[in-house]
Symmetry: C2
Subunit: 338 residues, 2 copies
């Protein structure tokens, strides 16, 4: 089978690609070709796999060519992040809405030419939810909570959920939208996402650096580890349509955790000196965005697919430490623990 | 003040234009200019008003010019209807989603050039609601029922609701989305809407013609008269942001009525011979679309703005008869009553 992963050079996309290549199969079929599109090239380990080919550049540049190229399956992860979309309204619409529609139209062109509808997993986001004066936000957002996005990014994700549902209804794709929780701990540098600090306050102290937390420690948030998130995407792909149930998006499992709990877990796993590298300096822009995010999420439909959240945040930190220890630059990413 | 009405030559748009021109003011300001865009020219009575100018052709053709033209207020009614959108997927997206975005971007360009944000009323639809296996549809859909569109038209309307909300959040417009119920009794010929028969089964018998009802008489549906619908749009325009509450769409008031009740009312108002001109011939395509529509709607937020549904369907039929009697071709539209 031939797979496409958009955003395939990003942190989650590359991790998903590695996981799938290591498995070798998806939904009972052998993975023989995997195309990774992204604005940057994928990491060398992926490029060196003979099954992998890369297309580098904005997704919109590639969608014309994709009209001629049948795929059995697609993981559509490419997206501009929330901070970028707030700063550049047009870029956000182009990167998130126009690109998704062009991708779906390319897949539709293949069906119109007589091909099979590709199975498509779209990575939506918990950012579709927010408080609106007409629709109070519940403490815990469920699969069927009414979305009221409070960022352009959240609006884009919600719009794409409904595009995916309608293209699916028409038989142009076999689409499923899964709402990702905030993925933490992300390695590398902070990105433009307003949620970036949910990784930074763990990653930077472990690397020996001071990390500034832009919100107060009683902020609660639904998070998930990279591994559980990738597992969730694969499980949603492999679910039958009947098991997925309907065409509306589902929430992936979340561990609902306060910043204070995250830092307690950091102290518990890595020691008090590491914990003390986190300082608080309120950033009004970020705090304002985060104040409109839900404090927690439930995931009943995902649990019926066998997906569960981590039991506690210490597990998530240990997973990050294990990942770093296995990577070539472990001495840098964990030097704060020495 | 200068107003724009898209779809301004259509049945509702022209009626809204007439109502506003007769009032002469909106939200306390004198209406000095009114631009009507539509694929067809507006009726002669509107064109003869010195305050009115028309732009004929697809909305997308006009949006570039609109970037240079400030408006104080906009009623955005232009839309391809549900039947058209099911038949031509691309036409639907272009007419309903791309045109709306181009209009919103034109208004944004005016704000970016230093102008005031236009007040915008977007006509959404009860068609955003539908049954999804993961989200059972309540018997009566409320303002905060989770939309799960089961037609492309419903998806387009929902997508535009969220575009309007996000452009409003950013200050590019002062937008409000109001979900129209099925408007009946529409004059003239049947259109491509799957809901067309909700007018046909009243209009055709009154004109002396047999009308075929494509669904069974126990189908229930939320309807509204043209007058109440136009009143709803104007009230939503004039509401303060605080009174509108939030940025999510609201339902306009509905009379929830069964086809059997509609026909009973027809017999009561116009006599049994008129009533007997309605025959039943199931149309699977239309019945299938209608089966996915809600059987009724509530409108709590609209009621707080003072908007109420009609008390019964006979009132709606009498309004149609009064309208016809006042029009030049009354002998044709009501010849079935003679």
């Amino acid at each position: 089978m031939k797979l496409l992963i958009t955003g395939g050079a990003g942190f989650l996309g590359a991790r998903l690609a590695r996981t799938l290549l290591a498995r070798g199969h998806l939904n009972g079929r052998e993975i023989t070709h995997m195309v990774l599109t992204d604005i940057a090239p994928p990491p060398p380990d992926l490029l060196s796999d003979t099954r992998v080919s890369a297309r580098t550049g904005p997704l919109l540049v590639h969608t014309d060519a994709l009209r001629e190229e049948p795929f059995d399956g697609v993981f559509h992860l490419a997206s501009a992040v929330s901070g970028e979309c707030e700063a550049d309204f047009d870029l956000g619409l182009r990167s998130n809405v126009d690109s998704t529609r062009a991708l779906l139209d390319a897949l539709r062109a293949n069906v119109n030419a007589g091909g099979q509808a590709a199975r498509v997993v779209f990575s939506s986001s918990v950012a579709v939810f927010g408080p609106d004066p007409a629709v109070p936000l519940p403490a815990i957002v469920a699969d069927d909570t009414l979305p009221a996005p409070q960022t352009s990014y959240g609006m884009h994700k919600l719009v794409c959920e409904h595009l995916v549902a309608d293209y699916t209804r028409k038989g142009y794709i076999d689409g499923r939208a899964a709402r990702l929780m905030t993925v933490t701990v992300r390695p590398g540098r902070p990105n433009g996402a307003a949620s970036s600090f949910f990784s930074g306050i763990i990653r930077e102290p472990l690397a020996g650096a001071v990390s500034m937390c832009p919100v107060s420690d009683d902020v609660s948030h639904p998070v998930s580890s990279p591994t559980r998130t990738v597992d969730g995407l694969i499980t949603v792909y492999e679910a039958s349509r009947e098991a997925f149930v309907g065409r509306t998006a589902l929430n992936l499992p979340a561990l609902n955790v306060r910043v204070a709990d995250m830092l307690d877990a950091l102290g518990q796993v890595a020691g008090i000196k590491v914990r003390e590298r986190v300082r608080f300096a309120r950033d009004e822009r970020i705090a304002g965005i985060v104040a409109n995010w839900p404090g927690g999420a439930s995931a009943l439909r995902a649990s019926k697919l066998g997906l569960k959240p981590h039991a506690n945040f210490a597990e998530i930190i240990r997973q990050y430490i294990d990942d770093c220890a296995a990577a070539p630059n472990a001495d840098q990413t964990l030097k704060g623990m020495s």
